[in-house]
């Protein structure tokens, strides 16, 4: 009986919390459907009188090139980051290198640096490689900036893997890369997924490099476009909020897609003994 009460109360609490969590989103949605005049009234809880779905059309038109670019850039860069990072995480935790711990810390410290101050060397670096204003250049920079974080997260998850697992694999004559691919990755899938989510968000939502390293709209990611929607000496919040809703679709899809692997990964986890 007590348990029932507990479940009921927690269910209620969690639901209320979820509703509270959605309140800012509610403000986003109502604003995205208003006219500029209604937005100026600054009554964020009020519903729009005449939902302006055209706002979404306008926003989408302005954003579509950016969406395409962001898809290419973010997905590739994230994949590379996780790949490089998890390999490195495995290498640092599974091989007992003497330099593993200091190297790990070198990597960790680097994740704390706000990259804005090295904007200039970053630009110079890409310029010498001739990769300014190209997909490859942006992907390269995002990988450089985020792979350390990917290493950090995946490495920490890998630390939890019991060594018996690896020993058994080696006894079976399993080569490291095969072990990585066939055993380590499936077992630590929740960890990898979490790392993927975080890295993807960092890359997708990034704004400054997307402007500084591009010329013109050809490879510009979507966040600079989103920032442009509001305008500088005008204020089109309604279009920008519609744009925000549109741009958030991609990460949400990524989350949902990854969520499936999250569950299946847990099933494969060592929890079943």
């Amino acid at each position: 009986m007590k348990e029932r009460y507990f479940l009921l109360i927690t269910g209620l609490l969690v639901s209320i919390l979820a509703v509270i969590w959605m309140v800012p989103i509610y403000a986003l949605v109502t604003t995205s459907l208003k006219t500029q005049e209604e937005v100026a009234l600054q009554k964020y809880l009020d519903l729009p009188r005449n939902p302006q779905f055209s706002n979404f059309g306008k926003a989408f038109n302005a954003l579509k090139i950016g969406l395409r670019n962001s898809l290419v850039i973010s997905l590739s860069a994230t994949f590379l980051c996780i790949f490089v990072g998890s390999l490195a995480g495995y290498a640092l935790t599974g091989f007992n290198f003497r330099f593993a711990t200091p190297l790990f810390f070198l990597i960790v410290v680097v994740t704390f640096l706000p990259y804005h101050v090295i904007l200039i060397p970053i630009t110079q670096f890409l310029k010498t490689l001739g990769l300014l204003n190209s997909y490859a250049g942006l992907i390269l920079i995002y990988v450089v900036l985020n792979a350390p974080m990917a290493t950090l997260i995946t490495g920490t998850f890998f630390m939890k893997i019991p060594p018996e697992l690896e020993e058994a694999a080696i006894l079976d004559g399993c080569k490291p890369f095969r072990y990585y691919l066939r055993i380590l990755v499936p077992v630590s899938l929740p960890g990898l997924i979490s790392a993927t989510i975080l890295v993807f968000i960092q890359i997708y939502n990034e704004f400054l490099l997307g402007i500084a390293l591009t010329r013109g709209p050809d490879v510009k990611p979507v966040m600079p476009f989103l920032a442009e929607l509001k305008g500088t000496q005008i204020a089109q919040w309604h279009i920008q909020m519609a744009g925000a809703a549109i741009t958030s679709v991609i990460p949400v899809l990524v989350f949902i897609f990854l969520g499936r692997y999250f569950i299946s990964g847990l099933m494969a986890g060592y929890g079943k003994g």
């Binding site: 100026a40 200039i120 630009t123 001739g130 990769l131 402007i211 013109g216 920032a227």
Partner: protein
């Protein structure tokens, strides 16, 4: 799992291929015109598009590559420009202001003089002499201004003014009077709106009290650090006047952007707004009617204060001829008119008659610009240095909360010393 990896590898190759294509494309020295600006949406975008159209007609073979740099009226622009310039990749032109804002680029050797373009267009004779003072450095000019935004406008809710029988203020004292009257009659309204989420607007009021307390000469001296901030009595009086206004200012200004603060006139929470002429376009877009819902008056009425957006010529621009033609084009009345009619500012050249503007405010602005004494506003106009301005904003937004005149004066004096304000502005007086 396999599928995932396969997808990843395919993506990878696809991307590498695209990247290589990108490199290939970049190598071609296309006939382009690369320009950075921050007029990114709506009316402001239409204005720059009008200029692009004109330019395209003059130069049909040139591909215009515009780089809108969104982000708070120029903050991001500087970071992007700095990294591009330091990496040796200047654009063909970019949106800049004047005075100290532009001087940093010149000191770093990033700009090239355009004296010949000015001479060709007889530009100096066609603009208010104040602009020449703030655009000429060591005898050379490096850019062409495209517009003139007036910032000493006081916008007010006409209905409230008519109701309470208030005359539109034209001096500081009349402004304070109006504030008091409004507060008495309608205690729920804030007489003066303000938005300091972007802190720079706090300096607009600072400019106003300096200008109205000491006159234009004092104003210029104060903003270029030529006065003894700690001991100057006029400066103290100006700060006290600023403090006197604070009780009448909308209390929650720190949460509002400039447009949200302006909209308070529509929501009925404020009665007056001190802001530049771009707010006119905003008011029109939110359904307010000029001379019915709102009107505007200039304080002080015998001075034109404002700033201009300019296009400089970077040194080593990738397509110098295209860049120079753009700058040349901007000196023509045709281009000035095309841009400004849509933009909401007025032309900087005096040879476009004021009656081309559809609204009375810009007509007045254009008329005043060609007849009155003019000064540049502090931050955007480049009277103060960006470094000093950055600190001034912090001091003023603090001052707006604690109203401590002594602390503010002390802090401003220290900031001026720390940023070498007087030395940095000495070019202004050496003309």
């Amino acid at each position: 799992m396999r599928k995932f990896v396969n997808l990843g590898i395919t993506l990878l190759f696809g991307v590498l291929f695209l990247g290589l294509v990108g490199i290939a494309l970049a190598q071609e020295k296309e006939n382009e015109f690369i320009i950075f600006h921050y007029w990114t949406a709506g009316g402001e975008k239409e204005a720059i598009d009008a200029l692009f159209e004109l330019y395209q007609k003059r130069n049909p073979g040139v591909k215009i590559v515009e780089n809108p740099v969104a982000g708070g009226g120029g903050e991001t622009m500087l970071a992007v420009l700095m990294s591009n310039l330091a990496a040796g990749m200047p654009p063909d032109s970019f949106q800049d202001h004047q005075g100290n804002q532009q001087k940093d680029y010149i000191d770093a050797g990033y700009l090239e003089p355009v004296d010949d373009i000015w001479a060709e267009a007889n530009f100096e004779a066609r603009i208010n002499p104040m602009w020449v003072k703030t655009l000429k450095f060591g005898g050379h000019v490096y850019s062409v201004p495209i517009n003139a935004h007036r910032t000493n406008w006081l916008w007010y809710n006409k209905k409230i003014f008519d109701e309470l029988g208030i005359k539109p203020p034209e001096t500081y004292d009349e402004l304070l009077e109006a504030c008091k009257k409004i507060k008495e009659a309608k205690p729920d309204i804030s007489p003066l709106a303000l938005g300091t989420r972007e802190k720079v607007w706090s300096t607009y009021l600072y400019d106003m009290v300096l200008l109205t307390t000491g006159g234009p000469d004092f104003y210029e001296q104060a903003n270029t650090g030529k006065i003894d901030f700690r001991n100057d009595p006029t400066f103290r009086k100006a700060m006290e006047r600023y403090a006197a206004l604070i009780p009448y200012i909308y209390p929650w200004h720190a949460t509002k952007s400039w447009d949200e603060a302006g909209a308070l006139l529509k929501t009925g929470e404020a009665a007056m707004y001190w802001m530049g002429d771009w707010v006119l376009g905003y008011y029109l877009s939110i359904g307010m009617q000029p001379e019915v819902d709102f009107s505007a008056t200039a304080i002080p009425k015998d001075i034109w204060m404002g700033h201009a957006d300019t296009f400089p010529l970077p040194k080593g621009a990738p397509h110098p001829n295209n860049a120079r033609d753009w700058i040349r084009m901007c000196t023509t009345p045709e281009a000035q008119k095309a841009f400004n009619l849509i933009k909401g500012s007025v032309t900087i050249v005096n040879d476009v008659p004021p009656d081309v503007y559809p609204d009375p405010y810009r007509q007045r602005s254009a008329h005043d610009l060609r007849t009155l004494r003019a000064v540049c506003d502090g931050f955007h106009g480049g009277m103060i240095t960006p470094a000093f301005g950055s600190e001034l904003m912090d001091i003023l937004t603090r001052f707006l909360v604690d109203q401590d005149v002594d602390a503010a004066i002390q802090a401003i004096a220290e900031a001026a010393e720390r940023t070498n304000l007087a030395e940095a502005c000495s070019w202004f007086w050496e003309q």
